[in-house]
């Protein structure tokens, strides 16, 4: 075998190929890299042949996925070599290894230019190709005139000119000014008279780029394109080598039809007629043949023709011909054609009024929703979503719901959202809507955002007829085993308000309702506990005459939560407890919620925006875009009122009635509801209101009458009772001022709180602002973790320059995969992040995330919830095991003891719950002293492997602010870190201050000592 003429390279490649495993491969590659490095060091001794060989090896190694961080200079220097073989390698390898911003490229700009203007054709081609692939702005400015000259030169051969065309395309993209429209449009038109199909193929790509930004200047090219298409379609003067399975260059045909789609219309009747003749011929004349390649090629042309016909808005007859074709396609066996049929039918929906014809294929499309191929299922889902209207909503939504139970994980979120949007948009009646959403929550609760269930509450509150129905439904769902937490929330809310309407039905007495809801309490998170407390208060109020037994039960619960760690819950417990003792007055205070003002659903608004986007994204839908521009403009003015007042339209989307009060209160200088305070700034792009939707929704619950009248009393209640309700606000306050210095964009919600919540659960929102939402989903197995960051662009325009950098503490190995630089409008990208825990440590990793929206550069540093407790797994041990271990770990440094003072007072069961939530398994009864608590857990890291940890807490019932803690494990560092970690849990609550007057510069959820030790925490503290 003639091995590429480079023996050393072949030997190396075959060595790598013979490696048994990745480790061997790495060793071999490292050896080679070392070798190349040494050889490059004394460059003088290298022959051009050797240099070439080493540079190819570098490229090979780079392709295998190894970093090659040297030798770039050698590769680049080959460009200046006088001989073709070296020069060629230099150009090719440089364009593979370097990016356009690399400094070395500047060094060769002159050589490149000389090659381009020189006489040697082959050198010209190499230089043009490299500039075409990686040329940046500087190249654009210094080379564009030369490249243009080559492209239009009559003495240049096609092989140079075709490359010049695409090189110019690159330079034009880097700097549009290099093409002077006035002079160039005539040139383009002349270029299209070219006979050589290679040159035409390249020129057509250039034309597509030019017309996509400015079709007006290139009208004269339109008839030329039609003529090219005619020439190809009639197979006139097409060399054999450009005919692919009997079809004259399908690629040029496709490109030409693509270019035509950028012209809004064709006015000249002759041109129009010729074009339609060609199109008609393609539509009618494309048959299915046996040869796969021929079939694909002819259908590539056919699908492009379909797109062009749709774009040109042909007469009805031709349109229905298109739909008929697509209808045929979506039913064929060939999966590619089926996929494209569905895709193009969806496009068709956007452009023309053919819904009714498409609807005839509904059954077939629903079948595709169950196709074994996920690519096809996705297209079917998009199409069903697009074709849904009042007439078929019931069928389609029910299909989606049915499919939801079996759908793969990757599609559920999208399915759930689409079903919710369609249900709301086209609900024939409200009870159906409630049914659909409850089913959604039941089947895919994880994917039902809060917006969706708020909307249900809103509908039910505003429609009296719906209330008993909704209450009965909610009651039924609670009977199911394993109810999703969102279902608990919505059911508890509805039953709190309306369960009295069911009182006569079996199983619906206040007591029964209470007990079925209360069953769920131990399993739910704090935000839900807050809702449950409100529900209990409501049930109590509705129970007339009062039931003393129920009353005692509920009072006992309120009592218990009066000392809850969570300030919100604590406040509710205290308030409800004292309110419920007011007797008859309770009836007034806890009366039913008033109706919500009618407003557009946030969900629908989102959906509308998304539709606008999708139309904008694609070039094919240029016409659709133009039609929609009118409505688009409306939306914009709606959002940005000229007088600069609060953009009410936008504000009223998601918030609940108490929102306006919060803003008022804030203006009045109360400063308590700081999270919402940012709204009062008349920002042209308003922050989507409030993280604390729950608070907004439930806030006015404790009050009677129209919300606005009561707001002050709510505030008074809070400050009057001297509760710790401020702590949340404090966190937020501490955040806001620092944030403002660097970013004009306000985060939505409290970053610190989101972080703390994520320390306890594995999915949720890490960060949100008006433009972006960063969600996290994590899986932990032993010392490995896999996080997925979900970067969601909330807007109708792309977010650019997105950058994510992980600043890992030394004990974590973290690898973040590709974060795309641009996040398309309304799109969500997922970036997996692999974590390996090397050693025990409490340090925190930080995500340094930045992006640009318009001219605003936003940069945030976010702590990542890869914290110590994620590497713990609760493990129960028997008394025997515990004591033998406990004894064998006899003292420091493996067993550490400390008396901790200033502990937040907790009763033992509460402490046990707290421990449980951090994966520490409490073993009741192991310690004979009832005031003590013993727990065990397994810690995982690479250095310690799985290691058992034992904890003992001794409390003093007469003084709950102090305790003695003993922690033991087989690793001194682990013992120390775990001890400090638990200490932080026990003393962590920020002390309530009366007025959060001067904002502390740093958030201090952890003890200051720990904070200052840890660079990550310090960084994050700056947030």
């Amino acid at each position: 075998m003639a091995l590429s003429g480079m023996r050393g390279l072949s030997v190396f490649i075959s060595d790598v190929r013979n490696c048994q495993n990745k480790e061997q491969e790495r060793l071999r590659v490292d050896k080679e890299l070392g070798n190349i490095r040494t050889r490059f060091k004394n460059e003088k001794g290298l022959s051009p042949y050797e240099k070439k060989k080493y540079v190819w090896k570098m490229l090979y190694i780079y392709m295998l996925g190894y970093d090659v961080d040297f030798g770039h200079m050698e590769a680049v220097s080959l460009i200046s070599a006088p001989k073709y073989p070296e020069k060629q390698v230099g150009y090719i390898v440089t364009s593979c290894l370097l990016n356009e911003n690399h400094d070395f490229l500047r060094l060769v700009i002159n050589t490149v230019r000389n090659d381009i203007i020189g006489r040697n054709e082959t050198f010209q081609c190499l230089a043009l190709t490299m500039v075409g692939n990686i040329g940046g702005r500087e190249f654009a400015e210094s080379l564009a005139p030369d490249v243009q000259k080559l492209l239009i030169s009559s003495s240049c051969r096609p092989l140079v000119r075709k490359k010049a065309a695409l090189c110019l395309l690159r330079l034009y993209r880097k700097n549009p000014d290099v093409v002077n429209v006035d002079g160039w449009s005539d040139r383009m038109s002349q270029l299209l008279d070219e006979r050589d199909l290679g040159v035409l193929t390249s020129v057509m790509s250039l034309l597509v780029a030019l017309v996509s930004t400015n079709h007006d200047a290139y009208w004269s090219c339109l008839p030329k394109c039609v003529r090219i298409l005619e020439r190809l379609a009639r197979n006139q003067d097409v060399p054999q080598d450009y005919t692919y399975y009997g079809i004259p260059s399908p690629w040029l045909q496709v490109k030409t039809m693509r270019a035509l789609q950028y012209f809004p219309t064709i006015e000249d009747p002759n041109t129009r007629r010729s074009l339609f003749e060609v199109l008609q011929r393609i539509l009618m004349g494309t048959d299915v043949v046996k040869n796969v390649n021929k079939n694909n090629a002819s259908h590539a042309v056919l699908f492009e023709a379909l797109a062009l016909v749709m774009h040109l808005d042909a007469e009805k007859e031709m349109m229905s011909q298109c739909v008929a074709l697509l209808g045929k396609f979506i039913a064929v066996r060939e999966p590619n054609i089926r996929y494209l049929g569905l895709e193009n039918m969806t496009r068709m929906l956007m452009v023309t009024d053919v819904q009714d014809i498409i609807k005839r294929h509904q059954a077939q499309i629903i079948t595709s929703l169950k196709d074994p191929d996920i690519s096809i299922r996705r297209r079917a889902l998009d199409l069903l979503y697009g074709m849904c209207d009042v007439t078929n909503a019931k069928d389609i939504v029910e299909e989606l719901l049915q499919y939801l139970s079996t759908a793969d994980f990757a599609m559920r979120e999208e399915l759930a959202l689409k079903a919710a949007i369609l249900a709301e948009k086209f609900a024939p009646d409200l009870s159906w809507y409630v049914d659909v959403i409850l089913q959604l929550i039941d089947k895919a609760g994880d994917f039902v955002s809060d917006d969706i269930w708020y909307r249900v509450v809103q509908f039910v509150t505003n429609n009296e007829d719906l209330q008993p129905y909704a209450a009965a439904k909610a009651r039924d769902y609670l009977d199911k085993p394993a109810v999703h937490e969102t279902m608990v929330k919505v059911s508890a809310y509805i039953l709190g308000e309306y369960s009295h309407l069911l009182a006569r039905r079996p199983g619906c007495s206040p007591k029964e309702i209470f007990s079925i809801i209360h069953e769920k309490l131990p399993t739910v998170s704090t935000s839900t506990v807050a809702i449950l407390l409100s529900t209990y208060a409501k049930i109590l109020m509705h129970t007339q005459p009062p039931d003393p037994e129920l009353q005692d039960q509920i009072w006992a619960i309120f009592n218990k939560y009066e000392s809850c760690i969570d300030a919100e819950i604590q406040q509710r417990a205290v308030e409800y407890f004292s309110l419920s003792r007011k007797g008859a007055a309770l009836m007034d205070i806890l009366a039913e919620m008033p109706k919500f003002p009618e407003r557009q659903s946030s969900l629908l608004k989102k959906a509308e925006d998304t539709e606008l986007d999708t139309a904008e994204q694609s070039a094919i839908k240029l016409r659709a875009q133009q039609q929609q521009q009118a409505s688009n403009a409306l939306v914009v003015t709606d959002q940005r009122p000229a007088n600069g007042s609060l953009p009410v339209g936008q504000l009223s989307l998601v918030k609940m009635p108490s929102m306006s009060i919060n803003v008022d209160a804030d203006v009045a200088g109360q400063g308590l509801t700081n999270t919402n305070g940012t709204l009062s700034i008349a920002d042209p792009q308003p922050a989507t209101p409030s993280a604390d939707l729950l608070g907004d929704l439930l806030g006015p619950l404790a009050i009677e009458g129209p919300p606005s009248a009561v707001a002050p009393s709510e505030q008074n209640l809070m400050s009057g009772s001297g509760l710790e309700g401020v702590s949340n606000a404090m966190d937020a306050l501490a955040l806001a001022p620092v944030e403002e210095q660097s970013n004009s964009v306000q985060p939505i919600g409290n970053i610190a709180e989101r972080f703390h919540a994520l320390c306890l659960k594995d999915s949720g929102v890490l960060y949100e602002d008006p433009y972006i939402q960063i969600g996290i989903k994590a899986e932990w197995r032993a010392h490995h973790g896999r996080l997925v960051l979900f970067l969601g662009n909330k807007n109708t325009s792309p977010l650019v320059s997105a950058q994510a950098l992980i600043l890992p503490p030394s004990h974590l190995k973290m690898e973040l995969s590709l974060v795309p630089e641009t996040i398309p409008p309304r799109a969500q990208v997922q970036c997996p992040l692999e974590v390996v825990n090397l050693r025990p440590s409490r340090d925190v990793a930080v995500l340094d995330f930045s992006y640009k929206f318009g001219t605003t550069m936003v940069n945030v540093k976010l702590r990542l919830p890869a914290v110590l407790n994620k590497f713990l797994q609760p493990i129960s041990v028997t008394a025997e095991e515990f004591f033998s271990q406990w004894r064998s770990l006899s003292g420091p440094p493996l067993k550490l003891q400390e008396v901790v003072r200033g502990v937040r007072p907790l009763f033992l069961p509460e402490m046990a719950n707290l421990f449980k939530s951090f994966q520490l398994m409490v073993a009741p009864g192991l310690d004979p002293n009832p005031n003590n608590l013993v727990a065990s857990t397994m810690f995982y890291s690479e250095s310690t492997r799985a290691m058992l940890c034992l904890i003992r807490i001794e409390t003093d019932p007469s003084d709950r602010t102090q305790l003695r803690m003993t922690v033991a494990s087989g690793d001194p560092v682990l013992t120390f870190e775990l001890k400090e970690f638990i200490k932080e849990l026990l003393v962590s609550i920020p002390k309530p201050s009366i007025a959060p007057a001067p904002a502390p510069p740093q958030v201090q959820p952890v003890s200051p000592a720990a904070g200052s030790l840890d660079p990550g925490a310090m960084l994050a503290g700056l947030l």
Binding site: Y62, Q88, L166, L197, D373, I620, E815
Partner: protein, 143 residues
């Protein structure tokens, strides 16, 4: 912007040829290749040749032990790309005569030359096999 990358990967998921038309860091490439290869290699013959991944649409085709994967943006004619893959394979066939994985492996530079003649900046430059191969043949004669 058309074609964003072209990957040749064998059944074991080893990359045999990679050409990107937008700059990605090494880490990004590794991640992208890993994810896409996992997705595509798991698919059966009865499934279609298009896979949606992040902002890309991957058009792929299998020849014996080799997978040809082409990443395009959402606005590209999928079947045209699918046949472009075949054109690439036919061109390699004409040059190597019954091309196989080893040919591409051991003649990495030739494979690059061919791609260089066929695609530039993510756009198709040439579809005539004769024209694509002329420079390579000239070079072979010279050496």
């Amino acid at each position: 912007m058309g074609i964003r990358f072209i990957l040749l990967v064998n059944k074991q998921g080893q990359t045999r040829l990679a050409q990107y038309y937008e700059y990605l860091t090494l880490e990004q490439r590794r991640a992208l290749e890993g994810e896409i290869v996992r997705k595509c290699l798991a698919r059966t013959e009865q499934q279609c040749s298009f896979v949606e991944h992040r902002n890309y649409k991957v058009v792929y085709r299998r020849y014996a032990s080799l997978f040809f994967l082409v990443g395009v943006d959402n606005d590209e004619n999928e079947l045209a790309i699918l046949e472009f893959i075949h054109l690439l394979v036919e061109t390699m066939d004409r040059h190597f005569g019954n091309v196989c994985e080893l040919d591409i492996m051991f003649h990495l530079e030739k494979a690059h030359f061919m791609l260089e003649e066929m695609v530039m900046n993510g756009c198709i430059v040439e579809t005539s096999k004769q024209n694509i191969l002329t420079p390579i043949q000239l070079m072979d004669k010279a050496s």
